[in-house]
């Protein structure tokens, strides 16, 4: 029987469902990262590991530790790092000819305002890392852009990189698509009157149609970032069609499972066990 390390910090519904489905297919050893001691170059036996820590820093460091034991982690450390850093992931996606929003990086308050002016208002200003739409701000004019940039500068060094992005006038919704290996088992529309559509921020989930173009884009985005199990955020631009915003490498999926009826946890469990047998 395949043995799987299950790395986690908080057991949300997503993790509980995954544990349940994994246990039906494999011997599972849960590893509560927050209370563990992990030795770089240590030793433990497992065929594969699945990373489900919510905290990026816990996820990243525990992944590299487990990789040092010679165990493959899904997703691997490079995928986690690239997906977490918005500039890095956008750069890689762009190089793989995947449509992404026009994004400018600026390194001072004045240049952030200048970048916003260049793009044309409104613009989205985001931190380089983090999700749930937290600290993402919409600047409608120069005054707002300057105020946001000034506040960011006070938050510490990471926030001194100003990530200024065109605002895509999406049709009151965006798409979260689940990618597992070479397939897209399900996707949802996140519908909201607010420009931040994350379900964590009150967006309403509805089943989305996965057409061949979307499917291809989602799979290529994950492949570019070495992500094997990912959640891809896509917006529909009135002129360009699908545009990829970001890829999540430890994706929540409970709303996708709930509204589409697809057992995402089982799909992930099956993929993980299949990979272990390779």
């Amino acid at each position: 029987m395949v043995k799987v390390f299950f790395l986690y910090d908080v057991l949300r519904l997503d993790e509980k469902m995954l544990l349940d489905r994994l246990r039906a297919r494999a011997q599972v050893e849960p590893l509560h990262v927050s209370s563990s001691i992990l030795e770089i170059g240590g030793y433990a036996e497992a065929d594969v590991a699945l990373q489900r820590s919510i905290s990026f820093y816990r996820a990243m460091s525990s992944t590299v530790a487990v990789e040092s034991w010679g165990i493959r982690v899904i997703n691997n450390s490079l995928a986690l790092a690239m997906a977490e850093d918005k500039a890095w992931s956008l750069s890689v996606l762009y190089q793989h000819k995947i449509p992404v929003p026009r994004t400018l990086l600026a390194y001072s308050i004045d240049s952030a305002v200048e970048a916003a002016r260049k793009l044309g208002f409104p613009v989205v200003m985001k931190p380089l890392m983090g999700s749930w739409g937290r600290l993402a701000a919409l600047a409608s004019d120069e005054e707002a852009a300057r105020a946001i940039a000034e506040h960011r500068e006070m938050l510490g060094s990471m926030y001194k990189v100003h990530y200024v992005q065109e605002y895509i006038d999406k049709p009151g919704r965006d798409i979260r698509a689940m990618c597992i290996g070479d397939g897209v088992p399900a996707a949802i529309y996140r519908v909201s009157n607010h420009w931040i559509t994350n379900t964590a921020r009150g967006g309403r989930a509805e089943p989305a149609k996965v057409d061949p173009i979307l499917e291809d884009l989602v799979i290529r985005s994950c492949k570019a970032l070495k992500v094997e199990v990912g959640g891809v955020d896509v917006v529909e631009d009135p002129e360009r069609g699908y545009v990829v915003l970001e890829v999540n490498a430890v994706p929540e999926y409970k709303n996708i499972a709930r509204v589409t009826g697809v057992d995402i946890a089982d799909e992930i469990a099956r993929y993980v066990v299949e990979q272990a047998k390779r």
């Binding site: 908080v10 949300r12 919510i54 990026f56 739409g133 379900t199 964590a200 959640g231 490498a249 430890v250």
Partner: protein, 57 residues
């Protein structure tokens, strides 16, 4: 099902037999509690402080 004490309101909290560290329990007093193992390896409860970064949907 072991019964532990809520560290916030002091009332009893029933913890499932198969509870694991990292599990969250909503208590009647309105606090979300996190299951963890104390220094003796016993299951214990502490107020859940949330996660500072995440990969949300």
């Amino acid at each position: 099902m072991p019964t532990l004490k809520c560290p916030v309101c002091g009332n009893p909290v029933e913890v499932p037999d198969d509870a694991m560290p990292g599990e969250l329990i909503e208590h009647d007093c309105g606090v979300v509690l996190e299951v963890y193992r104390d220094q003796n390896g016993n299951l214990a409860l502490r107020p859940f402080e949330g996660v500072q970064e995440d990969w949300g949907e």
